[in-house]
């Protein structure tokens, strides 16, 4: 599904070049459940952003679904994000003025799906995540765990093949974090490929494959052997 070859990403900070990613080689197959761990500033978020086509590498090639996604224009890039990729963020990024339903509905609305079909799909998604009775609530009327589940419903409403989660439990208490992780694992069970950045070694330990980053490099990859 994903193949990264010699990816590099540098940032210009003042006069200095900061290497966020160096020589990243990574292959992720369809249906994998993968965690990325490592100290703060080691390049985990940058890697996830590149995978999600929100950022471009300075060097290297990114293959998504067998095609070169490194130098796409804005439009096809957006198209891929809309249909293939779902994002889950540490800070949820729900739009405060919209209800849970409207937040989940947003990708469908932007894609021009008819209102009747939208309603039906959103209701089903909310019900599946146990949020049916929260449909009309706005984010500030929801708990952290509920917000993250609304965000997950939004990330999956387009049935993407790839879910990218950047510290999805980083802003939650243990219990809500557990719920969220179970939700994500259920998605994986349905066949979605999951790449999850986490700080929590316990959560990282639950994934089938673990990637450890350090200083912009992949320091350890538990699945590297079966790649070749």
């Amino acid at each position: 599904m994903i193949r990264l070859e010699n990816i590099e990403r540098t940032f210009q900070v003042g006069d200095e070049q900061v290497y966020a990613l160096r020589q990243i080689n990574l292959t992720v197959r369809v249906g994998e459940y993968l965690s990325i761990m490592g100290p703060s500033g080691s390049g985990k978020s940058t890697l996830l952003n590149i995978l999600g086509l929100l950022d471009r590498p300075d060097k290297g090639v990114y293959h998504l679904d067998g095609r070169d996604a490194t130098h796409l224009d804005d439009r096809p890039q957006a198209e891929l994000r809309r249909h293939k990729i779902g994002f889950i963020f540490q800070f949820f990024h729900l739009i405060p003025r919209l209800t849970a339903t409207e937040n989940v509905e947003l990708p469908l609305t932007l894609a021009g799906v008819a209102p009747a079909e939208r309603k039906q799909r959103v209701m089903a998604a909310l019900a599946e995540l146990g949020l049916a009775d929260r449909a009309r609530h706005r984010p500030d009327q929801l708990s952290g765990g509920q917000r993250q589940r609304v965000a997950i419903a939004r990330a999956t409403i387009m049935r993407p093949a790839l879910i990218l989660a950047d510290e999805p439990t980083g802003n939650l208490d243990r219990a809500s974090g557990q719920e969220v992780i179970q939700t994500i694992e259920a998605l994986n069970a349905q066949g979605m490929t999951i790449v999850m950045v986490t700080h929590d070694p316990e959560l990282g330990g639950r994934t089938r494959r673990q990637v450890r980053m350090n200083d912009g490099r992949i320091a350890h990859d538990s699945g590297a052997d079966d790649e070749k």
Partner: protein
Amino acid sequence: MTGALRTTAGPMMKSNDVVRFCFGSLAGYPLRTGLMLLAMSIGVAAVVLLTALGEGARRYVTQQFSSMGTHLLIVLPGRSETVGGPPPLLGQTPRDLTVEDAQALTRSSAVRRVAPIMVGSAPVAYGNRTREAVILGSTAQMYAVRDLTMAQGRFIPEGDIRRAEAVCVLGHKLKAELFGADAPLGRFVRIGQRRFRVIGVLTRKGQSLSVDISDVAIIPVASATALFNRSSLFRIMVQAQGREAIPRARQAILQILRERHEGEDDVTVITQDALLATFDRIFKALTLAVGGIAAISLGVAGILIMNVMLIAVSQRTGEIGLLKAVGAPGRQISRLFFSEAAMLSMVGAMLGLLIALAGQWVLVRLFPEFPISAPLWAPIAAVGVALGTGLLFSVLPARRAARMDPVMALSRR
């Protein structure tokens, strides 16, 4: 796959949804939305109301001119250098116009009536009340020429123009001030050192071109000559036989007076139509100028919109980043912001029109005699300019939103 994706028509968000989304975000920031609506609507209302006032002033002046009488020519002593220009306000008068000059004008077949006008000022007294008033010396002809109407009694009678009959006609305000509720007809008033019998009172006709005829006393021109001890006229008012006779009348007047003044062209003839046309032009220009100034306020509103939209873009960074993450291309995002500005200016313009209507309603009630009404082009132009500026000034914010780096946008929480 690449090919397949490229040929897919881009995402088409339904226009209903665009409107709902934009309405939501406008309603989500009521203060900034309110401010922009205020600026926009004030701009539109200003354009419409100010042009309505200008247009009202133009109509008012036109009305005043026509209430002066019809097919009028005015003969002034002294020569104006520019043909058809305004009368010479200053400058020497080489030769006076006299009552005989006025009488001579009746020779022309193009002329229907001639009214000599002499003007002076004198105290008018009845009993122990005295008012300083404008005294007009004229003839019976003035009644028809100036299109006057009587409230009581009659006007100066026809008769020998040289007879200094001691009768007078009072304007209604002067009558009210001197007589109060008393009946004035047949009473005697003292004008200067002479006694005049009141034979008539004019109706309340209001002001007609600088001379307030409600505040005058009109006496026979021979009486005025004696009263002021001079024979020079202020002007001669001539009524032509008809509208088409005006140019002929003008030529005749100039020729007759040239003969009488030893070949000198030393009078100015103003036709009512020419004056009217001049005033009309002046007021149209004025209306345009005032409307233009108001349109600048719309431009200012546009800049305000740009400013506030820019703030909105930076306020809503997270939202923009999220829209990108869930697959909105830059174009779509700029279209959303653009639509938002369009909706704002549209609603602002409509509010402005409502304010303008309300303002007009109030003005019409406050000044019922003043014919206020906006020309048709004013609201159309105002709304057009409002929409134009709204859209023009949201180009920059919309582009900024579209080009925002999603990673940066999402990293701020």
